[in-house]
């Protein structure tokens, strides 16, 4: 009997939710586990770096990598996995576009370190000790990975074959991707493994979305009683649906929660945040600068709102300072 295909899972700057999504395959996970040999899965199984290093190049059929790339160690691992694997799947919003960790691209590395090791309430660090990349102790050299100056998506560091979107990807999409891989019926390289349509297309509230929104105010969800049937944008809640790829079946709007954009944009869009601004803000009601500005004041943090999962993929890539 031929060997079962070898598969690796790896995480970079991740919250663990993507790993959880794999476990959420429930009984389907048995199909996967039965069909493949898992050669690496740090969250669940004990393999060492040396085990992977010892493998011949391209001997792993697919590596699923989640999390953003933040440290030198993560870069080293993903480069090694790229070398050892035939196919690399960028798994989840963080790997695809930086995700939540990429919001750190609004700050300088020095400011982050200073806050975390000195200024954060509750920190007691009179010597202002910081982690060091290298230090000597009793004749031993100890090393730590280096924190990079910015958070990167996986494809800003290595070549990526496929993308599974979402924070995290839904079990349905994961299963479809695994089946496609196992059957060898692969779409063209670079494909995002989710329908190439805007989320609004699959949202149950779509019929109540007006062509001209004519908004006079933006509200935060706690400020109003949300109508469970009506389009959230039409109610003045920022819903990223128009600038976000579908495939999640509009889970959040279905649960009375606005879309925050975790599936990233469709293939026609270069910059999710700018596209959202283009489509939605042309349609607010006022015509005078000061009235327009008053409406915009309802969105105090535009970057955190429009690039919640994708600041690494903003055309500007990070705050310039």
């Amino acid at each position: 009997m031929p060997d079962k295909p070898k598969v690796a899972f790896y995480w970079c700057a991740s919250c663990g939710g993507c790993e959880e999504a794999v476990v959420d395959l429930a009984e389907d996970i048995l199909t996967v586990v039965g069909a493949v040999d898992i050669v690496l899965w740090p969250v669940a199984m004990d393999f060492k770096k040396a085990d992977i290093e010892a493998r011949p190049d391209k001997s792993i059929v697919a590596a699923f990598i989640n999390g953003a790339v933040r440290t030198s160690e993560q870069e080293e691992w993903v480069r090694m996995l790229r070398k050892k694997s035939q196919v690399v799947v960028s798994f989840g919003a963080c790997a695809n576009s930086g995700g939540i960790p990429a919001l750190a691209n609004q700050s300088r590395k020095e400011d982050i370190l200073k806050y975390v090791y000195e200024d954060c309430p509750g920190v007691d660090n009179p010597d202002k000790t910081r982690p060091r990349i290298k230090c000597e102790d009793e004749g031993h050299t100890l090393t730590l990975p280096e924190l990079r100056s910015m958070v990167r998506s996986l494809d800003q560091v290595i070549d990526v074959d496929y993308y599974l979107p979402g924070c995290p990807p839904t079990p349905k999409l994961i299963m479809a991707a695994v089946q496609a891989l196992l059957s060898g019926k692969l779409p063209p390289k670079g494909t995002v493994l989710s329908p190439d349509i805007a989320l609004c297309e699959e949202c149950k509230r779509k019929d109540s979305k007006p062509a001209d929104l004519a908004l006079t105010e933006f509200k935060r969800p706690h400020q109003i009683q949300i109508d469970p049937e009506k389009c959230l944008l039409a109610q003045g809640i920022v819903c990223m649906g128009p600038a976000t790829r579908g495939g999640c079946e509009a889970l959040c709007p279905g649960g009375n929660m606005a879309c925050t954009g975790c599936f990233g944009p469709t293939s026609r869009v270069k910059d999710q945040g700018a596209k959202f601004v283009s489509s939605v803000f042309s349609n607010i009601a006022p015509k005078e600068e000061k009235d327009i500005d008053a409406v915009l004041d309802g969105i105090p943090d535009p970057i955190g709102t429009f690039y919640r999962y994708g600041l690494s993929k903003c055309l500007l890539r990070r705050k310039l300072n």
Partner: protein, 166 residues
């Protein structure tokens, strides 16, 4: 000897007003700074904020957007859409560290060839004072930190170009 910095400014001018005004400035032989690269669009409302970010990402030091005066849009409401979007875009640019002066929205009618001249000259001077933005250079600089590891992991084999999918 340091050469004077010549800003690169990408200008999106609408077909019906501002581009006509630039044309008028031309036939009237009005001289203005040669720093703008004009892109003619049918309406200022055609300019998606993505175009502005892309221009900066590809090396523009400034982006100028010119359209018809409010009420004069050939497509009735296009320039109101432009104004609303661009007010938001300005907030975004500011939050990303690109401050006032590098992006500018102006209403210039077809008869205002002189305004094209004064706006272009004024913007060129202001952007010159701000200095180069040089985003492509910054991208290369930022990526240096990840390139060092490459040889180490690839066992000294030939360096593969780092990919930056957009």
């Amino acid at each position: 000897m340091s050469e004077k910095f010549e800003p690169k400014i990408v200008a999106f001018f609408c077909n019906w007003c501002t581009y006509t005004a630039a044309d008028l400035a031309g036939v009237s032989r009005l001289k203005y700074a040669p720093n703008v690269r004009v892109i003619r669009v049918m309406c200022s409302g055609r300019v998606d904020p993505q175009f502005v970010l892309d221009a900066f990402a590809r090396g523009a030091d400034g982006v100028l957007l010119g359209g018809c005066h409010p009420g004069d849009c050939h497509y009735a409401e296009g320039n109101y859409k432009t104004l609303r979007r661009m007010r938001m875009l300005e907030r975004m640019l500011k939050a990303m560290g690109i401050y006032d002066g590098r992006f500018r929205l102006e209403w210039i009618s077809g008869a205002e060839g002189d305004k094209v001249r004064s706006v272009v000259n004024d913007m060129t001077e202001k952007v010159r004072a701000l200095g180069p933005l040089n985003l492509p250079g910054k991208f290369t600089e930022w990526d240096k930190e990840i390139e060092e590891l490459e040889a180490h992991v690839n066992g000294g084999s030939k360096k593969e170009a780092t990919v930056h999918a957009r």
